[in-house]
Every structure is written in structure tokens, then in C-alpha cells.
């Protein structure tokens, strides 16, 4: 298996070429303003090594923060239309009723609420009003909007209403790009609808981004299938991923964690990924990041979908240290570290300066921090250690000491001894862990539904069958599938022993 993995971050673009489990080439280049010239430079560097062994390149895996940035910056978003099928419920809480105002204005939505939807047991709430959907679709068409998000009550249970509405919209607006909430989110109408709307707002960007990658690959002469990495440590074919940009939101940290697992050979460990501005702590279980099972805010919007459970800490290589008090952060010089940090001749004292003064790493000119009082340096280090220890402890899932893998450009900031960690592992190539994680990605399938009138075993089995089918549909090799997660919760007050079951399976990409 020969693959290229590339991770396009805010600061750096990293690329690796792997052959089986061997790294053949790797490079880190600064992310360029236009993004693609940096991508091409990184790709060209590793692509030059493809001929080192006779096998052809199987795939290119791309991780990108492009879509998240668009939401955070409220830029490059397109106008959306929301159709919610839930009346007579929820009229008082229309779609996007809890969005930050600036983001609301950025997507300038058209909002429609129509009658229909289902109950928790799959029976219709009220009859679907197709005429109302038709009317909405005509208004959307007349406004020239082509990005449409459709949600319906209990659609994770039965997709019937969303599917029918999509058919009607497509008849009236053939060029519409439609996002169905059931394909992205979980139970919780408002949160699932939010995910669908964010996704809809990113449709154009998804398309142009994938097209730009396609062009970049062609220009370098790489003719292999290419995939985008997803939040859960898996990949999707680029054209499929382009339709679901939200699934790429948190793929950066996920790729780092997957890469950390690969580089250390550990499948169960904690990972801290230290960047320029912040660090993320996450937990690897079976080689994959543990998922958040709760509300995650993205750009100020409440969402509930497949995301890694990460704890961000305001500690990175560029975090500013108060020269008087030794207080750490939360301000950071970020990517300006090469200009502003003391060791690089700047005026700002950063965590990196402290690390250099303490002899933890060599960079810049150490003489520029030789004036720092050794006691001050030690005290600041102790404070950094306490920050890491406290957050690490919070994310741990067992009382026993567990290994902590430090990756990312600022990994040197993590002390060798952290309370609660059996050891702190540092690895070669930790700087490109994210690109490696991208190269290693697999394919998954998930189901999240309420099952009634069956035993627990029957419900789990039914869910697993559906999850396996979803994985194969996503491009997995059926023979390689493994169950990664099973979660079931009995549902209060519902008859028929209703049980909500969530199953996720994962497998290798089928290149057949």
C-alpha cells in the first residue's frame, strides 16, 4: 500500500509518502496565502520519491482545516435555504434561532417550516404536506438559492420525509445541492439541523476546494484516487467529502492522534498535540480518537455529530509569558513566533523562549534569553507542567497511569514527567504526525437509531448490520470491517422497550 498523506493546517502544510508502514519521504512547508502553492510544493517533494519502489501510488489522503476556518471567519459561505418538516411542533423555535447574529447574516437564510415528520416509534407525526414543500421550493428557486438543508423530526429513525422533500425540491430546482439532516447528525432536531445548515453553507467551498486539489494533483502528475480525511479518523472519496464538508471540521487534530498511534505503535494512549497557539488533548482508544458524546460548538453554533473529544488548552509554542509575573497565556504570537519570540530577536517572551532558556530545545539564538533568571525559568516551567497535568488528568478515562504521546511542532513544551502519565513518549517525525495520520486513514459506517420491540441483543445486531452496510457503501472492504464502538441507551417513558443504539464500524479502503 503506497499512499501520500497531506495535512493543510493554518500554519504548516505537511506531507508524507508511506509505503506499507514505512515513511519514504516527508516534508513540512509553511501554509501559503493561496494555500494551493504550498500544497503543490509539499506534494511535489514527496511525489519525487514515488519511483523509489516499483509499486504505483494507491491513494492521496488530504486533511484540511479549510471548512472550519470558513465558519470561524464567516467567510466563503453561501446563502442557504432551510426546510424543516416538523409542524405543528417547534414553530416557536425556527431554524437557526440560536445562531450568532454575524454568522446568521453571513448565510442570509431563507427559512421554511412545513407540516410532517415522524414520532419516536416511526409513525407519522402528521401527514407530510407536499404542497408546502413545493411552495417553499419555488420560492427558493425564484431567489436563485441552490443550497438547501432539509430536516425532519426523528429523521435518524426514518428518513422518509426528508427523502420525499428532497425529491420534490430536486424536481423544481434540478441544480440544487441538498443536505439531509439524517445523513449527518444525531437525535436532537435543532443540533442536527444546525449541522445540515452549516454543511449547506459550505457546498460551494467544498466543490471548489476539491477541484483545486484535483488540479494541484494533476499538475504534479499524480493520478491516484484522492480522499479527504474526516473527524473520526476515517476518509471519504474527495467528491463524496465535498458534499459533506462538516465531516472534515476536526480532521486536523484527529489526524495528529492517528499519526501518534502509528508512530508509537500504541493504540490506547493519551495524545497531546502542541501547536503554535493552542494544544489539544485527546484520548486514543483502539487507535482512534474517542468521540465526543455531547454538544460541540462550532463557530458559536450548537451541534451534535461525529467529532473527536478534545480538550483545548491555551498553551502552544507561541504562547506569551508575562515577564513580570510569569503568567502563561492565553495570548499568543502564533505564526509570528519567528519574528516576535526573544530567541528569534523579537521583543515578546514566549513559552518557546522559556524552553530554550531551560535547555529543553535548541532553536534561535539562546544568548538572547541568557538574561532570564533561572529561578523564574524554573517557576514558569513548573506552571506549564501544572497546566498540562491538570488538563491531562481531566481527559483521562481511568485512574491508572497511562502513556502520553506528545506530538506537534511544540511537543518539546511537554515535560518528561507528567503526574498521571506512565511515560511521556516523543517520537521521530512527530512534526508530521498529522500527515501520517491522514495517510493511514480508514473508512467507517455508523448507525444511530431507536429500536423498539426487540431484545437488547437483537437491537445491537440490527444496528451492527446497518453500520456494516453503511461502511461498505462508503468504500470499505467488507472483509476488513471491525466494530469500533457500541453504545446503547434505553429510552425513558417509551413503550416497547425502546433503545437507542449507536454502532460504528471501520475498515480498510476497498481498492477493488
Amino acid at each position: 500500500m503506497k499512499r501520500i498523506g497531506i495535512d493543510v493546517g493554518g500554519t504548516n502544510t505537511d506531507a508524507v509518502l508511506i509505503d506499507g508502514d514505512k515513511i519514504t519521504a516527508s516534508i513540512k512547508v509553511p501554509t501559503t496565502q493561496d494555500v494551493m502553492s504550498g500544497v503543490k510544493a509539499a506534494l511535489a517533494h514527496v511525489a519525487a520519491h514515488i519511483g523509489d519502489t516499483p509499486r504505483p501510488l494507491d491513494a492521496v489522503m488530504i486533511g484540511t482545516t479549510h471548512f472550519t476556518n470558513a465558519v470561524v471567519e464567516r467567510a466563503r459561505l453561501e446563502r442557504v435555504a432551510a426546510i424543516r418538516i416538523a409542524l405543528p411542533t417547534g414553530a416557536s423555535l425556527p431554524p437557526m434561532c440560536d445562531w450568532p447574529e454575524d454568522l446568521y447574516r453571513a448565510v442570509d437564510p431563507m427559512i421554511f417550516m412545513v407540516h410532517g415528520g415522524h414520532e419516536y416509534d416511526g409513525s407519522p407525526l402528521v401527514p407530510l404536506r407536499e404542497d408546502e414543500i413545493r411552495e417553499a421550493a419555488m420560492k427558493i428557486r425564484d431567489a436563485g438559492v441552490t443550497s438547501v438543508a432539509i430536516s425532519a423530526t426523528f429523521s435518524p429513525l426514518t428518513t422518509e420525509c426528508e427523502d420525499r422533500a428532497a425529491e420534490i425540491v430536486r424536481l423544481i430546482i434540478p441544480e440544487a445541492r441538498i443536505t439531509l439532516s439524517n445523513s449527518l447528525g444525531r437525535i436532537g432536531l435543532l443540533e442536527r439541523e444546525n449541522v445540515a445548515l452549516l454543511n449547506a453553507a459550505l457546498q460551494s467551498l467544498g466543490k471548489t476546494t476539491v477541484q483545486a486539489f484535483k488540479t494541484a494533483l494533476a499538475e504534479i502528475g499524480l493520478d491516484a484516487p484522492f480522499f479527504l480525511t474526516q473527524n473520526d479518523g476515517t476518509v471519504a472519496l474527495a467528491d463524496v467529502a465535498a458534499a459533506n464538508p462538516v465531516f472534515s471540521f476536526a480532521s486536523g487534530p484527529t489526524n495528529s492522534m492517528r499519526g501518534a498511534a502509528f508512530l508509537t505503535g500504541l493504540s490506547d494512549a493519551m495524545v497531546v498535540d502542541v501547536g503554535g497557539t493552542t494544544s489539544d488533548i485527546g484520548c486514543l482508544i483502539g487507535g482512534f480518537p474517542r468521540e465526543a458524546n455531547n454538544i460541540v460548538h462550532i463557530g458559536g453554533v450548537r451541534t451534535l455529530f461525529r467529532m473527536p473529544d478534545l480538550l483545548p488548552i491555551a498553551l502552544g509554542g507561541g504562547t506569551v509569558v508575562d515577564a513580570e509575573t510569569g503568567a502563561i497565556g492565553p495570548r499568543s504570537v502564533g505564526y509570528r513566533i519567528l519574528r516576535e519570540a526573544r530567541v528569534f530577536g523579537g521583543q515578546t517572551l514566549t513559552t518557546s523562549d522559556i524552553a530554550v532558556a531551560a535547555g529543553m530545545i535548541e532553536m534561535g539564538d539562546p544568548s538572547l534569553v541568557s538574561d532570564l533568571d533561572p529561578t523564574f525559568v524554573q517557576e514558569t516551567l513548573a506552571r506549564m507542567r501544572a497546566m498540562v497535568a491538570e488538563n491531562f488528568d481531566q481527559m483521562k478515562t481511568s485512574a491508572e497511569d497511562v502513556p502520553l504521546i506528545a506530538v506537534g511542532g511544540g511537543a518539546f513544551l511537554i515535560p518528561d514527567e507528567v503526574p498521571g502519565a506512565s511515560e511521556v513518549l516523543r517520537v521521530e517525525n512527530a512534526g508530521v504526525a498529522n500527515a501520517l495520520g491522514a495517510a493511514m486513514a480508514q473508512v467507517s459506517g455508523e448507525v444511530d437509531q431507536v429500536f423498539s420491540d426487540m431484545t437488547r441483543e437483537q437491537a445491537l445486531a440490527a444496528a451492527e448490520t446497518e453500520a456494516r452496510a453503511a461502511a461498505v457503501a462508503a468504500g470499505a472492504d467488507a472483509a476488513s470491517l471491525q466494530v469500533l464502538e457500541i453504545e446503547d441507551i434505553p429510552v425513558a417513558y417509551l413503550p416497547g422497550g425502546a433503545r437507542r443504539v449507536r454502532v460504528r464500524v471501520i475498515g480498510d479502503i476497498s481498492f477493488g
Binding site: A86, P88, T89, G90, A91, S92, L93, C97, D98, G117, E119, Y120, L125, V126, T153, F154, I187, G188, L189, L190, N293, N294, Q394, M395, K396, T397, S398, A399, I489, P490, V491, A492, Y493, L494, P495, G497, R500
Partner: protein
């Protein structure tokens, strides 16, 4: 004297009510959104003190009923809560002077506000649980032996039900729950109407103020980067029972309720010990290393160690850092009749009630 409930109190009320929900009562998020929107449209709610009620004033007691999970899909609408009140008025042939909450815990603390904002009636600064409980007979009105009927129930379609009589509080619970299930496991209800005299004699007073103040100290502590849990303990004269990390959650549904236990492994001063929190919708009994150390009717609250936010029995999950704190129960719940109705035996535990505050 009527006092306007200011908009900035909405978040405080929701935060405090979620803590007083002792794990149940439903997350107030959607109710908070609804109330904010009503305020944004110009509605204002007035609060009335219980002693300002005339003896023969009629008071509507409202609550949303059903499965929280259903409520996450079938988003609630204040109009239905208002309709339940109107339906009861039609049935009684008499107008209500004011509206009050069945329980001050969780989302239901805001239910009377939603109806009141639409109906232009004040909310009484009282409820009949002082927290949240899973069943209709677990109220101060039931403890006081007051009538349990009639009850009105409204769903989102055009179904309106009035239960005109019930043999007992238990039967009222059984019948109304069956109707609620039939209409999709979520409904707005107006419970047995109360007279001003009854509210004054048997209501649990000033709980709106209590929840709002409790929420306010949490929000303020958070803003100052102080310890919000310490603020709760200090303000509500509570006791810390345990501090630790969730290591196991075991849920089952029996008899229509969410039952189970959550296991917390101690940290800091509780290192080496284990606390088991048993629940039926709400946290019921805490066992430290197997021995009961705190129990209903004392309020057992599971709080996020960092934010001080309450954690519900439906949302508790592995790995969370938590403080278990006990807050004093309203006096009526700790009387012999109160303990019989809501003490550990009412939840199936053969334990004598012993308050952590005695």
C-alpha cells in the same frame, strides 16, 4: 406587588433550576430559548409572591410531561402550555389569577413563564416540589392531602384531554402518563388547580427567587474564574458529599422510568473511595463504599467540577469530573408525611431517611 421578571434573570433561573433538578426535570435549554424569544417579541412576565394571593384566587399548576429525548425532536412550543391553562379555565368556568410551576427543577421551572408570557398572567414565586421528582404524588400538595384532579393535557395536534377524576394521586399519575404516551410521549399539562389558600398553606414558597439567585452565583463565579461549586455550597448552605470522576453509568428503564446508577471514583480528599449514585430520573441515594451517606429528600446534585453546571441522569457520561453536593430539602419534604411520599422507601430503598444536615 407584582414584580417584573427581568430578561437578564432568564439565564440565572435556568442555571439554578437545572441544579435544583437534581439530575432530572429536563435540560432547560429549549425552554430558555423560547422564553428569550418571547421577551424579544416584547412579552414580559410578572412575578407574584404567594402571600399576595387572595384565599379564593385560582392558580394554574403547569408542567411539561414526557420523555426528554422526544422533546429534543418535537421541540416545545409555549402556545401548547398556554393552551393547557386555557383548557382548564374553560372546564372550570373560572379564570386563573396566576400560574405556577409544578417543579422548580430543570426545564419545568420555566414552563409557567412560557404560559404566562402568552396569557398575560403573573407567575407565582413558588412550586410544589422545591426540586424535581419523577411522579405526580411526590408533591407538597399530595403530602398535604389536597385534591389531585382535574388535569388537562394538550398535545401538538388537536388532542385535548381532561382527566376529571382520579381515585388517588397514584392513579392520576398512571392515567395521565398513559395518555401522554398515547400522544407521542410528550405533552403540556395543567395539573389540579389550586386556591390561593392552598398555595399559601402547602406551596413551597420563593423557589423562583431561590433558583434565580443560585444560578446567579454560579454565573458570577464562572465570570470571575472562581470555583462555581464552592459558590453553590456557600450560597445554598450545601454540603460537599464527594469529588471524583465518573467511571461507570448503568441505565435501565423499568416501569416507564429511567433507573440506574452511576459510579464515581474519588479524587483529592476522596481518593480511594467510591460513590455510587442511584437514580430514578433524579439522583435518589448516594452510597459511599456501599453505605448510604446521602439521600432524598435532601437534594443530591451532580455538578461539573469546572463549570458548576448540573449534570442530568440522561447526560452523565464516563470520564466527567464531578462534585456531588447535597442541598437542604424544603421543610415539608422532611416531615414524616413528606419522607413517606419522597423518602428513600418511595424509591424502593429500605433505608431510614437521615439528612446530611442533621
Amino acid at each position: 406587588m407584582l414584580q417584573e421578571f427581568p430578561e437578564e434573570n432568564i439565564e440565572s433561573l435556568a442555571t439554578g433550576a437545572w441544579i435544583l433538578g437534581t439530575g432530572g426535570g429536563g435540560n432547560p435549554y429549549l425552554s430558555t430559548l423560547n422564553l428569550r424569544r418571547l421577551y424579544a417579541e416584547g412579552a414580559r412576565v410578572q412575578v407574584l409572591q404567594p402571600d399576595e394571593l387572595a384565599d379564593d384566587d385560582m392558580v394554574a399548576v403547569v408542567s411539561g410531561m414526557g420523555a426528554p429525548l422526544v422533546g429534543q425532536e418535537r421541540l416545545k412550543d409555549p402556545r401548547h402550555m398556554a393552551r393547557a391553562v386555557e383548557l382548564m379555565e374553560d372546564y372550570l368556568g373560572r379564570p386563573f389569577r396566576a400560574i405556577m410551576a409544578l417543579e422548580i427543577g430543570g426545564a419545568n421551572a420555566l414552563s409557567p413563564f412560557l404560559a404566562a408570557a402568552l396569557l398575560g398572567r403573573p407567575v407565582v414565586n413558588a412550586d410544589c416540589m422545591g426540586r424535581a421528582y419523577p411522579e405526580a404524588q411526590m408533591t407538597s400538595f399530595a403530602i398535604g392531602g389536597l385534591s389531585m384532579f382535574p388535569l388537562s393535557l394538550v398535545d401538538v395536534r388537536d388532542n385535548e384531554v381532561i382527566v376529571t377524576r382520579a381515585e388517588s394521586w397514584k392513579w392520576m399519575e398512571k392515567v395521565s402518563r398513559a395518555v401522554c404516551t398515547a400522544v407521542g410521549s410528550t405533552a403540556a399539562t395543567c395539573k389540579a388547580p389550586r386556591t390561593g389558600r392552598e398555595v399559601k398553606d402547602w406551596g413551597i414558597h420563593h423557589t423562583i427567587t431561590q433558583a434565580t439567585e443560585l444560578g446567579r452565583v454560579v454565573l458570577e463565579a464562572r465570570a470571575r474564574h472562581d470555583d462555581p461549586v464552592a459558590a453553590v455550597l456557600d450560597h445554598a448552605k450545601g454540603k460537599q458529599i464527594f469529588r471524583g470522576k465518573i467511571v461507570d453509568v448503568d441505565r435501565t428503564t423499568t416501569g416507564g422510568f429511567l433507573r440506574g446508577k452511576t459510579v464515581i471514583e474519588g479524587i483529592d480528599t476522596d481518593r480511594g473511595a467510591t460513590l455510587e449514585l442511584a437514580f430514578q430520573n433524579e439522583w435518589a441515594v448516594a452510597f459511599r463504599n456501599g453505605a448510604p451517606v446521602a439521600m432524598t429528600p435532601d437534594l443530591l446534585c451532580l455538578l461539573d467540577s469546572v463549570s458548576g453546571s448540573a449534570i442530568g441522569t440522561e447526560s452523565v457520561r464516563y470520564g466527567q469530573r464531578v462534585n456531588v453536593v447535597a442541598l437542604p430539602a424544603p421543610e415539608i419534604l422532611t416531615t414524616p408525611a413528606g419522607v413517606a411520599a419522597v423518602g428513600p422507601r418511595a424509591f424502593g430503598y429500605d433505608i431510614d431517611f437521615k439528612s446530611v444536615f442533621k
